[in-house]
């Protein structure tokens, strides 16, 4: 666990926490959005909230690919899976996402559809190779991090002359979503959120680099600090954001220098560019139709495009009206403010997508953080006292030999 434990070191965390507490101005509040679900997960998993002073507020952003997929796309995937000879290959995360009328891929599989969980795009290509009699459709989702592997799979299928492999493409773009959050001129008053700065994407930035976020700093005056997904990365990014704000700066800074460069991964970008093109618009759960925010396969790769290859009828799909996933994905509400949270909606019986993925804000809060409401509701019981900032001094996990 060398090279990982260093970024989870409780002693260092305590030191950074003390710096944050010392530098955050007591007279003001700081509202930072961590864009990525990976950050949301780290914040919840390691209890980072307990290490921050009360005037630093973390807002969960929409960077969870499963969460932002609108219900209509899941319906679409279920219809694809129901077609004769079609095998739908998907990442496990998507299996339990609620579709219309209480359906899900998990239920469709139990009812007989051939839906298989895979760990990588290449597994899906392998299945296509081994089972030429079946039509293998890969349910491709994700931000810029997962797009190059999908491009690679398509190139591989082409190279192997596979006639039975296609991709149901749902790849979306991070900067477009950030722009939608910052710049939504139609936002209603109750939807207005305060974001003073962003903890910027980790893995996404390894692919696209730091340049695509410059508009946040230049057009909107919001600092961005690109940060890794380890808890110390997040803490350090928060400190860097506090410093930018205190000094009146709004720049794109890179905390994650061990993996992210300004230009990103040019080879991956070229692969994506060769295979995909921009969609004019794409529906996001929570953000609605966002212009130029998603990708589709280029015409030259049409035979690998499941949407072109298997036209299925789709109808307008609506979220459960009580579900607050939309507001939560925009950072307007917190999970516990949804009245379904923990009642009708739990990870076993999710109503909205944010309760499904481990990166979803609701699932993260349910899985790791919901004891905090309980403690504040029944403070007399007082189980786990939140350590004071700087007090959480621990050594790294002790491992048995």
């Amino acid at each position: 666990m060398k090279h990982v434990d260093e970024y989870r070191d409780g002693k260092l965390a305590g030191a950074v926490a003390r710096r944050i507490a010392a530098e955050a101005l007591p007279g003001r509040d700081y509202y930072f959005m961590e864009f990525c679900g990976g950050h949301t997960h780290a914040i919840s998993r390691y209890g980072i909230e307990d290490l921050l002073p009360g005037n630093i507020h973390m807002i969960h952003g929409p960077g969870c690919p499963v969460c932002v997929l609108p219900i209509g796309r899941i319906d679409h995937a279920i219809r694809l899976a129901a077609l004769p000879k079609v095998t739908l290959c998907t990442y496990a995360d998507l299996m339990r996402v609620p579709a219309s009328r209480g359906a899900s891929l998990l239920k469709a599989k139990a009812a007989g559809a051939d839906i298989r969980m895979v760990y990588s795009t290449l597994d899906a290509v392998r299945i296509a190779e081994n089972e030429p009699g079946r039509e293998i459709v890969f349910f491709a989702i994700g931000f810029e991090t997962t797009t190059p592997p999908t491009a690679l799979a398509i190139r591989l299928a082409e190279k192997k002359s596979l006639q039975n492999f296609s991709v149901f493409c749902n790849h979306v773009l991070t900067p477009a979503a950030m722009a939608a959050i910052l710049g939504d001129p139609d936002a209603k008053a109750e939807d207005a959120i305060r974001v003073d700065g962003f903890v910027g994407p980790a893995h996404v930035s390894t692919v696209i680099g730091t340049a695509p976020y410059v508009f946040c700093a230049e057009q909107y005056g919001k600092p961005v600090v690109i940060a890794g997904f380890e808890p110390l990365d997040v803490m350090q990014a928060i400190l860097m954001l506090v410093r930018q704000i205190n000094e009146g700066r709004h720049e794109v800074e890179n905390q994650y220098i061990r993996a992210v460069t300004a230009a990103g991964n040019r080879k991956a970008q070229a692969e994506v560019e060769a295979v995909f093109e921009l969609r004019e618009a794409f529906e996001w759960r929570g953000l609605g139709e966002v212009p130029f925010s998603a990708l589709r396969l280029r015409e030259t790769f049409a035979q690998y495009d499941a949407e072109r290859r298997f036209p299925v009828a789709t109808e307008a799909a609506h979220d459960n009206p009580a579900c607050e996933c939309g507001a939560i994905l925009r950072g307007v509400k917190k999970p516990a403010e949804c009245r379904l949270f923990g009642n009708a909606c739990t990870p076993e019986t999710p109503v909205g997508s944010c309760m499904v993925s481990a990166e979803g804000a609701c699932a993260a809060h349910w899985t790791y953080g919901r004891f905090r409401e309980h403690i504040s509701a029944a403070s007399a019981a007082g189980p786990l006292p939140a350590p004071e900032a700087g007090e959480g001094i621990r050594t790294t996990r002790r491992a048995a030999s």
């Binding site: 965390a13 481990a358 029944a378 786990l384 996990r397 491992a399």
Partner: protein, 353 residues
């Protein structure tokens, strides 16, 4: 691990019996499974023994107290580093008997075999079972064999049932944890799950990790003798891992737990594999570990007894029971913050045991 009805708080949404289907989450050891059992089997079988909510049932017979437990094994692959489905079927059921503090006496074994299964593999599995049962001193005294058409099973599925006798005066149950009780874990977690995963098709990775599959009744006997009446409950954290077991005990006993992440022993190679696979060792199955809930006055003696046994050398006190109406399992992370340790929802690793 036998999942019984009151270990897990059922989900609030009802089973849709008219239109629903069994899906993989119903076998995960989590809330969906509890809901299935409560909605189907509880309705059909409900009785006071089931209502105890333990991995085994204890009942009075003339001249003493007996324990009975049954478990099915569907692990894939059948052979994995450190064991196979046969040894696992012996160890797992012996452990469920032992967790009541009982001395296991006899096992039965039932086989569902798929047409076309290699006899050599069957013999290898049977030999492994024989060896495990002889080593444990618990003979397999009766059995049953069924063969189903190709495609109607996957190789072989084994069900073992065990009976045992509880020493006079001993009364262990998962509902007996009280605030202040100490939680002892008998060794490193996650070894079994990671060993099995490492041999899964399409997930092959190189590792030295072997399953911890082992019979724990010897260690249990030492522990019972050392801790005496301060021993409240024991359970083996199999499917669903340490997280599921602590949550079960919290719900049965109406307490919370607070554990210290740093105190939980995890082998570095297991931690690394979990990192790679996106798993939390707290959710990964074990087949040769137990947690013991011990009143504070007996904790030192209990820990010493476990550590003195070869299967308990890495044992550690990992936390304590606390008063908490919400019955949360809380953890102070190595990073210094707080979190809860919940049941895993859905299925992390199908067919791990």
């Amino acid at each position: 691990m036998t999942i019984t009805l009151h270990q897990v708080k059922p989900s609030r949404r009802q089973l849709d019996i008219a239109r629903g289907h069994v899906d993989l989450s119903h076998g995960s050891g989590g809330r969906a499974m509890a809901q299935l059992i409560a909605g189907i089997f509880y309705e059909a079988f409900a009785n006071d023994w089931l209502r105890q909510g333990n991995d085994q049932a204890a009942f009075d017979v003339e001249g003493g107290r007996m324990v009975m437990s049954t478990d099915s094994y569907v692990v894939s692959p059948l052979f994995f580093p450190g064991g196979d489905i046969g040894s696992l079927a012996v160890h797992g059921t012996i452990n469920d008997i032992a967790m009541a503090g009982a001395r296991p006496l006899h096992l039965s074994a039932s086989f569902i075999i798929e047409e076309g299964f290699a006899l050599a593999d069957l013999q290898r599995i049977a030999s492994s079972m024989g060896e495990a049962s002889r080593a444990a001193g618990v003979p397999i005294v009766t059995g049953d064999t069924k063969v189903v058409e190709r495609g109607k099973a996957d190789g072989v599925f084994i069900t073992t049932t065990g009976v045992g006798i509880v020493p006079a005066g001993l009364d262990l149950s998962g509902d007996r944890a009280r605030p202040g009780d100490v939680v002892i874990l008998s060794g490193t977690i996650g070894d079994h799950g990671v060993a099995v995963m490492s041999k899964r098709q399409n997930l092959d990775f190189e590792t030295q990790i072997v399953s911890d599959s082992a019979s724990l009744h010897g260690l249990v006997a030492d522990l019972v003798a050392a801790a005496g009446p301060s021993l409240r409950a024991m359970r083996d954290p199999t499917r669903g891992g340490l997280a599921a077991t602590l949550n079960e005990l919290a719900h049965q006993s109406g307490v919370g737990f607070r554990i210290d992440e740093e105190a939980v022993p995890v082998r570095p190679e297991v931690a690394a594999a979990c990192e790679l696979l996106g798993l939390d060792p707290l959710h990964v199955a074990n087949e040769g570990k137990l947690i013991a809930i011990v009143a504070p006055e007996g904790a030192a003696a209990a820990l010493a007894a476990i550590k003195a046994h070869p299967l308990g050398r890495d044992a550690a006190i990992i936390g304590e029971a606390i008063a908490d109406e919400a019955r949360f399992v809380q953890m102070v992370t190595a990073f210094g913050g707080g979190r809860i340790v919940d049941w895993l929802s859905g299925e992390q690793l199908p067919r791990i045991c």
